[in-house]
């Protein structure tokens, strides 16, 4: 399946992330079938589709998180800024420093708020106090959490509310200033108010990061994404500007899904 013909957004980095004829297998079971996608820089791209359609698998391939699963293999290629993720010279660890990730269930570490934010710096071996302090403030401000936690940075992260914990996870993911931020249903475990705050945050963050978000929530996709890809049974059915997808989908499956006829 190729990119939709209407996909000609004027951007000098319109194919910052390039998924090329990509197929992915869990053992013998194929989860993704020949997906071709170009994800532009500094935009929010939403992946939608029913459960098990492969959208999370695709997302988790963008930082090679799926390498952890035993017996997986892939065909095709994914390139970020022109470099293949699977190039033997690419180290997974340095790749993950360029590609941050936020998970469905907020998962802060059993550490203080401060230590949570600077975790990626710690594992990179950086320990200059001024740099760490500065990173904490910048990341927490960027994730709109600073004002709420600035007086208790050294308290346990578990003392925060669910929405705050998820924003802390976002702060943690962007602390090392990655280029790309992957979000796997970041609001699935949150109440509507916390969801709204995260969505506002996403819109703010796209100025700095290229965001790829998996969501089950159609409204969320319309509210905060620039482009939307609809996946079904491991295949990319339709990929276009969000407005286009939701107002005038070209494929009957897409229309059926977004109007709620199957899920």
């Amino acid at each position: 399946m190729s990119l939709s013909s209407s996909n000609t957004i004027a951007s000098d980095a319109s194919d910052f992330i390039r998924v090329d004829d990509f197929s992915f297998y869990y053992g013998a079971k194929q989860a993704i079938f020949n997906v071709d996608m170009a994800i532009p820089a500094n935009q929010v791209t939403a992946l939608i589709g029913p459960s098990g359609c492969g959208k999370s698998t695709l997302l988790r391939n963008l930082n090679r998180m799926n390498d952890l699963v035993e017996g997986v293999h892939h065909e095709g290629d994914i390139r970020i800024g022109g470099t293949s993720l699977y190039d033997p010279s690419v180290e997974v660890i340095s790749l993950r420093k360029r590609v941050g990730m936020v998970f469905q269930k907020y998962n802060p570490f059993a550490k203080s708020i401060y230590e949570n934010v600077i975790f990626s710096l710690r594992v990179a071996g950086r320990s200059k106090k001024s740099e760490l302090d500065e990173t904490v403030e910048r990341s927490l401000r960027a994730s709109a959490l600073w004002d709420e936690v600035k007086d208790r940075l050294h308290d346990s992260a578990f003392g925060l509310s669910g929405g705050q914990q998820q924003r802390l996870c976002i702060a943690r993911a962007i602390a090392n200033q990655p280029e790309i931020l992957l979000m796997d249903e970041p609001c699935a475990a949150l109440d509507p108010v916390a969801t709204l705050r995260i969505e506002e945050l996403i819109l703010k963050l796209k100025e700095q990061f290229t965001i790829v978000i998996v969501t089950h929530n159609m409204e969320q996709a319309t509210r905060c994404s620039d482009r939307t890809a609809f996946l079904y049974m491991g295949k990319l059915v339709e990929y276009d500007r969000t407005m286009q997808i939701f107002e005038n989908p070209s494929k009957p499956e897409t229309e059926a899904y977004i109007s709620g006829r199957f899920s």
Binding site: S94, R96, K105, A110, K111, F119, R122, A124, Q165
Partner: protein, 545 residues
Amino acid sequence: MSSELSKPSRSFATTGRSRKGEPLVWLTAAGLTLGVAMALGLFLLILIKGGASFWPRKIDVMEVTRNGGSEIIAGYVTQEKERKDPDGTFHKEIQVFRGNRDLSPEAFVYIDEKDIQSVSNPESLLLVERLEYGPAIVEPVALEADGKRIEASSGEFRSVLKAQLDSAKKIRADLLEIERKKIGKISRELEALGRAERSGSVPATEAAARRAELQKDFEKLQAQAAVIREKLAGSQFFGRSADGREVTFPIGNLLGVFASNEANFFERVGEMLHRMTSFLTEDPREANTEGGVFPAIFGTVTMTLVMSLFVTPFGVIAAIYLREYAKQGMLVKIVRISVNNLAGVPSIVFGVFGLAFFVYFVGGGIDQWLFADKLPTPTYGTPGILWASLTLSLLTLPVVIVATEEALSAVPRGVREAALACGASKWQAIQRVVLPASLPGILTGVILAMARGAGEVAPLMLVGVVKLAPSLPIDDIAPFVHPERKFMHLGFHIYDLGFQSPDAEAAKPVVYATALLLIVVVVALNLAAIIIRNRLKKRFAVSSF
């Protein structure tokens, strides 16, 4: 149809049939109750029997007629029981502790209640604790101190006696200082000198000169000790036993006196506390049946702590590899099964292994390599606390491995993925996130291992425990820590007292008291570990979802 309708409709209230499961609930409750009752019963028995042995009892003076003769027996009742004679009649019988083992060999006598003619409790009777022959029960007559004789009837008798006992205690401490430390130091130096001479690092003439010097010091100290000993022998205590025999004890041999029949309740409590303190802090005397168990407490605690020091890192590292790095296949399965089975191997087998491997192979090797000059006297090639700790850490290893594996696998996947997504390597994720999160679970394993290790006796008998260790494994003699030394252990102490003691009756109270103490020590060690774990839990708790 109509009859069907006329039946009262079945309500949702619980009826007989829907409560079918209830008896099983009762069964589980009964099982738990039985278990708790058994544990409580055990603890109460030990608490009462062990605690009672410290309580100073009244001394009875009994006039007993039996076997055609009459005798006077003074002592306190330790047991009352029914005895069945061959002719089928029952007799009430009491067991009396009369002490005075120097006068008559049996410290315990059995008396039929019907033979007792009269009982009195003369207030003047003293229970005298001695360094030798156990306690004595005597009527004080007089004492002789600094050439002066003071009759028991005089008012100053008690105070002078007390002053004499206190000074005797100090003198004994001085003597110990000279004999154990100063003379010990000289003999250690002499020994080292001999080795140096043999190996040729010190010329013979120099060695001889030094030896003469040391010999002079040694004689000086011995003379000092002799003077002190004379001082101890100077004062005498004269008494009369209940059956009228005169006895004389050097006051240097006496530890304390207690007027058991005269004392009021508070004095008794005071005496009990005093006895408990000496039990906890003193060295054992007289084949362990008298005195305290301090070296055994010290040995048990030290051995258990050293064991946890070995087993924790070892077990945790093994579990991390097994759970996180090893490819989960047939081989790992076999390893895991073997580890679990290791927990079921009888502990004495570990003792045999420890003796063969640690003591003879490793210890013997260390001796060949580092202490060759001392051979054939072994240094490490003989049972000791280090080998005992290592053997027990092997014994408790499966507990730690299994607990750690469970704890590691209980860490949510999301937390690991988050760490990896932040650019952590697998080891960094384990070290910085997974291990802290599983620390409480790991500590639970360590607690279980400590509880198991502290109570183990059988393997220790092969690899380091002794009936009486002359010195502690940690003391003030350089290099302060002596991992090669043999040590005493509460568990072995119980066995030794109960089954190896020359006077089983005399040892019985100490057996219960030691058992109580062993329980207290194990509980204390566990409590300490539990408190540490709960603190960590607060710090590292993973949010529950």
